[in-house]
């Protein structure tokens, strides 16, 4: 297996059980810093479960996860985010009754410190941070292209815009690694093109490493430097887009699960 040169994320031997079902089996995955990588695989292969383990919502039964060399498996979700790992959700989990700006501001929480006492006393730190948070929200919304939606309640925005709010929110946590869970789901062709551009800008302008789960092969092949293919909870192939496209195991996994010989 190819070893990434500067691995920002290293997953080794990750296993996850739910009751009697083994969802992930000794999975290995590495993501090179400053690149865009993808995880693909048939439905039920365990892709979202990997994300949930990465973000601390699932506790793996075995294995290690390292972010920039530091172990993060077993840590609480909010600590993992503070260490620089952010995610978006497959089914959008915005704070629906709050405005787009307020949604984005939630990402700023972990990068600021003013507490209840600061708030009640109106300290300088409080005022300074409030100003910075408001500006940051505006900036991130502009970065994803929906600056004018700031004051609108999230629930009232069109789907494509809601997705962008979620990206802005994740970016506001200033991550080193951004996990995108099926970011292209429900987008039309124009929006998908925007997504490709956005993902590249995140890598180039912000220096953030991106890991996506996707079913849209076109998108995956277009943006990824490295692709990992999962099936039945383990890695069955990985490499550059060209390599993976022609891998017989991958083709078998997608075409005929009954006859795959993994």
């Amino acid at each position: 297996m190819a070893v990434a040169i500067v691995a920002l994320l290293e997953i080794t031997g990750l296993s996850l059980r739910f009751g009697g079902i083994e969802v992930l089996r000794s999975l290995d995955l590495a993501v090179e810093k400053g690149t865009i990588a993808s995880v693909i695989g048939p439905n039920g292969a365990g892709k979202t479960s990997v994300f949930n383990c990465l973000t601390g919502f699932y506790r793996p039964s075995m294995g290690q996860i390292r972010l920039a060399g530091r172990r993060i498996d077993g840590l609480a979700p909010h600590r993992i985010t503070r260490l620089g790992l952010a995610r978006t959700f497959q089914n959008l989990r915005l704070f629906r009754e709050l405005s787009a700006a307020e949604n984005v501001m939630s990402g700023c929480h972990c990068r600021t410190r003013a507490g209840a006492l600061d708030a009640m006393l109106g300290t300088a730190r409080h005022r300074r941070e409030e100003k910075a948070i408001a500006e940051a929200a505006e900036r991130w919304l502009a970065f994803v292209g929906i600056r004018d939606a700031a004051g609108r309640v999230a629930r009232t925005l069109p789907y494509g815009h809601q997705r962008r709010v979620e990206w802005a929110r994740a970016l506001a946590t200033e991550p080193a690694l951004l996990l995108l869970d099926e970011p292209a789901a429900g987008l039309n062709a124009a929006e998908r093109a925007d997504l490709v551009a956005l993902i590249r800008r995140v890598r180039d302008d912000l220096g953030v490493t991106v890991l996506l789960i996707e079913h849209d092969m076109g998108l995956v092949m277009q943006v990824s430097k490295h692709i990992t293919v999962l099936d039945y909870g383990r890695t069955i192939a990985e490499g550059s887009p060209e390599r993976v496209q022609n891998d017989p195991h991958v083709i078998a996994a997608y075409l005929g699960r009954e006859e795959d010989a993994v």
Binding site: H78, T81, F89, E97, H109, A150
Partner: protein, 317 residues
């Protein structure tokens, strides 16, 4: 743009001017009440301001953080009994009881909040009820807290040689506390922690994914609410000079909750209205006296059934 992304009111100076003028006038009226009202009205209004303080405190827990605390009177008891114990058993000045009560309340908030953090809202409600009862039973059983008859003869506080004894004095104290509570609540609502409460209330897991420590945030709500109640409790003890366990029953927690909910919203003006209604309405309709809780119950039921979209429109778990 201000923090909520809304257009600022920079272009509307006249409206804000009217608002401040109105608030100032109201404040003026309210502050001069002791000069022209008799003792009875002063008592009722003092109690009303006291409930405003308590209801705003509970509003932090229920309204902002979305935690249905049915044992809030326990924190009130902590404050009152701390004042009683400090003055009667330790023989110290009343003013020492304030920082001690705040510390005790913070501790109580952590003890009560800790086990309940992972609980669903209905479990949480009953457990906090249980805690409230435990506190009441404890102060009722222990000799040091005076048992079932409570503590009597709590000494009045002194400020630069002036003994704070008259009804007018306590009117101003509770009015000031209520005003401080309003300012503190408002600032909390519009702050980083206020937003964190909204996020955790709206979708706890999404909030955690955004780096928010939901446990710390919820505990902060309990502790802050507890502190409001405890400070109120101290001054309550000073005013009444006698406290007994029955004051801190579930009924009391319920009355405070009523004040928060009756006003129709978890917002500050609504809570103030609700608190005042809880105190003043039974006085206005004295003839229904013992039926007042029944009337409240029916009103509460009607409000819950007919108020559209509920009181807190955000989605819960």
């Amino acid at each position: 743009m201000n923090a909520a992304g809304e257009a600022s009111t920079r272009g509307r100076p006249v409206r804000t001017l009217w608002r401040t003028a109105g608030a100032a006038a109201l404040l003026g009226v309210v502050a001069t009440v002791p000069f022209f009202a008799n003792d009875y009205y002063l008592e009722v209004l003092s109690e009303a301001w006291f409930y405003v303080l308590l209801c705003l405190g509970l509003n932090i827990v229920v309204g902002y953080a979305g935690l249905l605390d049915l044992g809030y009177a326990a924190f009130f008891a902590v404050g009152a009994y701390t004042a009683g114990l400090v003055t009667l058993r330790l023989g110290q000045s009343f003013w020492l009881s304030l920082p001690l009560a705040v510390a005790a309340a913070a501790l109580a908030g952590v003890i009560i909040g800790g086990p309940t953090l992972r609980l669903r809202s209905d479990y949480l409600a009953i457990v906090t009820l249980g805690f409230g009862e435990m506190v009441r039973i404890t102060v009722r059983n222990l000799a040091i807290t005076g048992g079932a008859s409570g503590l009597v003869g709590i000494s009045r506080p002194e400020l630069f040689g002036y003994r704070i004894t008259s009804i007018g004095d306590y009117y101003y104290i509770f009015l000031s506390l209520a005003l401080l509570a309003v300012v503190a609540s408002h600032r909390l609502e519009q702050s980083r922690i206020g937003r964190a409460w909204k996020y955790v209330r709206s979708d706890e897991d999404a909030a955690r994914a955004m780096g928010i420590n939901h446990a710390a945030v919820k505990l902060a709500a309990y502790v802050l609410g507890a502190i409001f109640a405890a400070i109120g409790g101290c001054f309550y003890a000073a005013k009444m000079t006698a406290i007994s366990p029955e004051t801190f029953s579930f009924n009391q927690s319920l009355l405070i909750l009523l004040g928060v909910v009756l006003g129709g919203r978890g917002k500050i003006p609504g809570v103030i209205l609700g608190a005042m209604a809880v105190v003043i309405l039974p006085e206005l309709f004295r003839d229904i006296g013992s039926m007042r809780m029944l009337v409240f119950a029916i009103s509460l039921l009607l409000i819950m059934l007919f108020r559209p979209a509920g009181i807190w429109p955000e989605r819960w778990r």
